[in-house]
């Protein structure tokens, strides 16, 4: 054995009834639910507790509490979610989400979360793109931190075991059922075998497959790849959300999120000519709900119930494309973005700088410290950034179980709620609603399985060998894993980005095959103790799997819909609006793509959709 050292003697076995992989909002909420059901629960996470990407969520959590506008209800929230997702959503998931989100938010308050308040002391709600009424419960612009810390601080007193800084590289199966997971802990690189009655995947997104992203190093699509490798199906993978407003300057912060809350508070998008270009292109489905004038838009952001929303608050897919169009047409800002201006509200209100600092403290801080820009006095430069995967593991709407028995998924790594485009604020409510459901049902499943969990020694051996392979290559004959990752990110950004064509995506598939060959030669230097080069090498397999799934699904959709835009097929195609794409591993190991029909809404749900049109 080379510098990696042998695996003999360094394998630790751990047993839980329910194993949750991922400790963002969905994972924590699932763990709390499973623990409340009385089973033993372990949580495995790649980073330290409380650092997951949920922490970056800024604007708020969507729930029809109707505290600010009593016209709101679960029905309106449901219809908004379906419209935003271009009706590719799983209607039952969208219904459950809209019905249960208010209780999940109130429950957080009972666990200590503090949200901003209305004048009569209830939870305050703010406007966000695609939501008909002010619906996002929030705390300034650090809602995600408030939520993850609340779940964390509640969770640590619920008898849950946390395995921090551990990465799972393979799910273990027995007769088609998931019975555990194999992984390594970062500190010493020791292998771990987790046996479990049920596994909940809550690993978040895939942003690291792209160069410009709001996601951290963790988001390499592990959960999707683990599920795929275990035989589960992935669905809707062509629908990757590019958030319209990421930072563009300085280069080192490119991609970092600028909350939609800026626009919710009255921020406007301008091109270099100072034109408010969002008024130029309003999609037909939203024509009736969009302001006619700048004044009406402003009144909407200030709570005038008679006013309609400004075009900056159209759905993210549309806003991102409009920004992209301005930049491509040469009307962008100096560093290749457009301007997002909140400072202008000085013309409309006294104490505007103080108001901005109070409503958007994180943004103020972020721009001041990283870009030297005072957002109370000057505009920000922003551009689209890879943000959120609408697609993911195909799950049952009620239970969140994947197509593999014993394997559950919740939050961003699961698919179905958001369809072709996610509304802002629906991810935080998604992870609460479906995190709880996944935890409840996983606990129930685990209980039904009893304690006999046989883990195959052959699977564990194969997983250890694969994990150690990078140490068997030397730096001189092997490939640098960081270079492979960077090449992949550049390629996905350029060829399978916000605007797509067949030729480019076919080139991407060839590129992916070449990268697979390079991935098989990546080398790790040094030893197994906290070695990021080795970890990066092992993450590549997941990144390549999800990148291929995105590319194949995007190639198959020869129309433009939601977040998926084809330059060679710029229009919607009604027939394809009734179809979703599923990918799974074929018998020969190659990726198979299948079409499945969209799940039709029940008669009652269809009636609600029609009423809200």
């Amino acid at each position: 054995m080379s510098g990696g050292g042998g695996s003999g003697g360094s394998l630790e076995a751990i047993e839980h009834d329910v194993l949750v992989i991922g400790a963002g909002g969905a994972g924590l909420r699932a763990a709390i639910a499973a623990s409340a059901a009385g089973v033993s629960v372990g949580v495995v996470c790649k980073s330290l507790l409380g650092k997951a990407h949920t922490v970056m969520a800024e604007g708020g959590v969507a729930a029809a509490l109707a505290n600010v506008d009593d016209r709101d209800s679960w029905k309106v929230h449901f219809a908004d979610t379906m419209r935003g997702g271009q009706y590719l959503n799983d209607p039952r998931m969208a219904e459950l989400h809209a019905r249960e989100a208010p209780d999940r938010v109130r429950e957080l308050e009972a666990w200590g979360a503090l949200f901003d308040r209305t004048k009569d002391g209830r939870i305050l709600q703010r406007n966000f793109g695609g939501h008909a009424y002010p619906r996002l419960a929030h705390v300034g612009d650090r809602t995600g931190l408030e939520m993850i810390r609340t779940l964390q601080d509640h969770g640590i007193h619920q008898g849950i075991t946390f395995h921090m800084e551990c990465t799972v590289t393979r799910l273990l199966t027995d007769g088609g059922r998931v019975v555990g997971a194999f992984g390594y802990e970062r500190e010493r690189g020791r292998f771990r075998v987790y046996r479990a009655g049920a596994v909940v995947l809550a690993t978040g997104g895939i942003g690291r497959a792209y160069r410009i992203t709001s996601n951290s190093w963790e988001y390499t699509g592990d959960g999707l790849a683990l599920a795929y490798d275990a035989g589960a199906e992935l669905v809707d993978m062509e629908f990757l959300q590019f958030h319209p407003t990421g930072m563009v300057w300085p280069p080192s912060v490119r991609g970092i999120l600028v909350t939609e809350g800026v626009r919710g508070e009255g921020g406007v998008l301008l091109n270099k000519e100072g034109r408010r270009f969002m008024f130029d292109d309003i999609p037909p489905a939203y024509q009736n709900q969009t302001a006619d004038s700048e004044d009406e838009g402003w009144r909407y952001t200030q709570g005038d119930k008679a006013a309609r929303r400004p075009p900056e608050l159209l759905t993210r897919d549309h806003v991102a494309r409009c920004i992209n169009r301005e930049i491509k047409a040469g009307r962008g800002s100096p560093h290749g973005g457009v301007f997002l201006d909140i400072a202008w509200i000085r013309q409309r209100m006294k104490n505007a700088p103080e108001h901005i600092r109070r409503k958007l403290p994180g943004m103020y801080h972020q721009f001041m410290e990283l870009a030297g820009v005072d957002i109370t006095a000057e505009p920000m430069e922003v551009g689209p950034t890879t943000h959120y995967m609408m697609g993911g593991i195909r799950v049952d709407a009620e239970t969140q179980m994947s197509t593999v028995p014993g394997l559950y998924a919740a939050g961003e790594c699961a698919a179905g709620l958001h369809g072709a485009n996610r509304l802002g604020g629906n991810s935080l409510s998604d992870l609460l609603v479906f995190g709880k459901r996944a935890g409840d049902h996983a606990a129930q499943f685990a209980r039904g399985q009893g304690k006999a969990r046989s883990v195959s020694a052959a699977q564990v051996d194969a997983a250890s060998r694969a994990a150690l392979a990078p140490f068997d290559r030397t730096a001189s004959d092997g490939t640098n894993p960081y270079q492979v990752q960077q090449t992949l990110q550049e390629m996905m950004q350029d060829l399978v980005g916000i605007v797509r064509t067949r030729q480019e995506m076919e080139r991407a598939l060839e590129g992916l095959a070449a990268l697979r060959a390079r991935e098989a030669r990546v080398a790790a230097t040094g030893n197994r103790d906290y070695n990021p080069g080795w970890h990066t090498a092992l993450d590549l397999a997941s990144l390549l799997t999800v990148s291929e799934a995105v590319t194949r699904s995007a190639l198959a959709r020869t129309e433009s819909r939601g977040a998926h835009f084809r330059d060679d097929f710029p229009a919607k195609d009604e027939a394809q609006g009734r179809v979703r794409h599923v990918v799974k591993r074929g018998p020969d190991g190659a990726m198979l793509l299948e079409r499945i029909p969209v799940t039709p809404p029940s008669a009652e749900l269809q009636r609600i959709i029609e009423e809200q049109r």
Binding site: S47, K51, H53, G112
Partner: protein, 248 residues
């Protein structure tokens, strides 16, 4: 091409040394960018924790030119680059490897602080009413991103290693967030005085200086907690009431 030299601590649990790396620097770069560039091209196994790269997760804590900082929020433009920039791990915690330290003690300490305990709901539907002003008071402490830089700089932990008897500024802030939560009814004063060791803090305010979230740790969290603890434990009238069974 402009370059700068970074003098980075490389080592493990038992030993280590500073090593120089020179890398290209560009507009707007932060220390974490430089560390990543060095990792990608020169030292693939250089260990560093990071996540959000926007000062929101509190993972990339280190000591830059001797100052406890988040590497992602330390711009190179604010550092003297004519001499090497030293980057070292936090010193109040045991080293694991390179810039990564063992901060697990913090996670154990948190479990010893009595959790949030709300008063009964105010409304029949199980919800509460709170005033924005009351919420704002606790909000300052809830901004904490758990970077543990305050723990790193606190001399009670860093110099005197009193980890067994003192929870450190981070968890005094946590206790303050709970004590000043408008709904919380638990009483943490006795625990603060005894097991949490609030008396060890002698208000040197180093924690406030390094807090990347600009939480006024000493003045707004620790001193009010000290006053509450003192009120309860040392007020003679209260002591008398306790003796006759009337006080808390």
């Amino acid at each position: 091409m402009t370059t700068a030299t970074f003098r980075i601590w490389r080592g493990d649990r038992t030993s280590g040394a500073l090593r120089d790396y020179t890398t290209e620097i560009t507009d707007g770069m932060v220390v974490l960018d430089a560390v990543h560039q060095i990792q990608a091209a020169q030292a693939p196994d250089l260990a560093v924790r990071w996540n959000c790269k926007a000062g929101r997760c509190g993972s990339c804590s280190a000591e830059v030119n001797g100052m406890p900082r988040l590497m992602c929020m330390t711009r190179l433009a604010d550092l003297p680059l004519e001499r090497p920039v030293t980057v070292e791990p936090m010193k109040a915690f045991p080293p694991i490897r390179d810039l990564v330290t063992d901060v697990s003690w913090n996670y154990r300490v948190k479990t010893t602080i009595a959790p949030f305990t709300p008063r009964p709901p105010d409304a029949p539907d199980g919800t509460w009413r709170m005033d924005q002003g009351d919420v704002d008071r606790a909000m300052e402490f809830r901004k904490c991103i758990e970077c543990f830089l305050c723990q790193d700089v606190c001399h009670v932990l860093r110099e005197h290693h009193l980890h067994d008897g003192f929870v450190g500024p981070r968890f005094l802030v946590h206790a303050a967030a709970l004590e000043m939560h408008p709904l919380d009814v638990a009483d943490r004063r006795e625990a603060l005085r005894t097991t949490h060791g609030i008396g060890y803090c002698n208000i040197t305010k180093c924690c406030t200086t390094v807090c990347p979230e600009h939480i006024t740790i000493t003045d707004n969290a620790i001193i009010p907690l000290k006053e509450r603890v003192a009120d309860r434990a040392y007020d003679p009238i209260r002591a008398l009431l306790r003796v006759v069974g009337l006080g808390d």
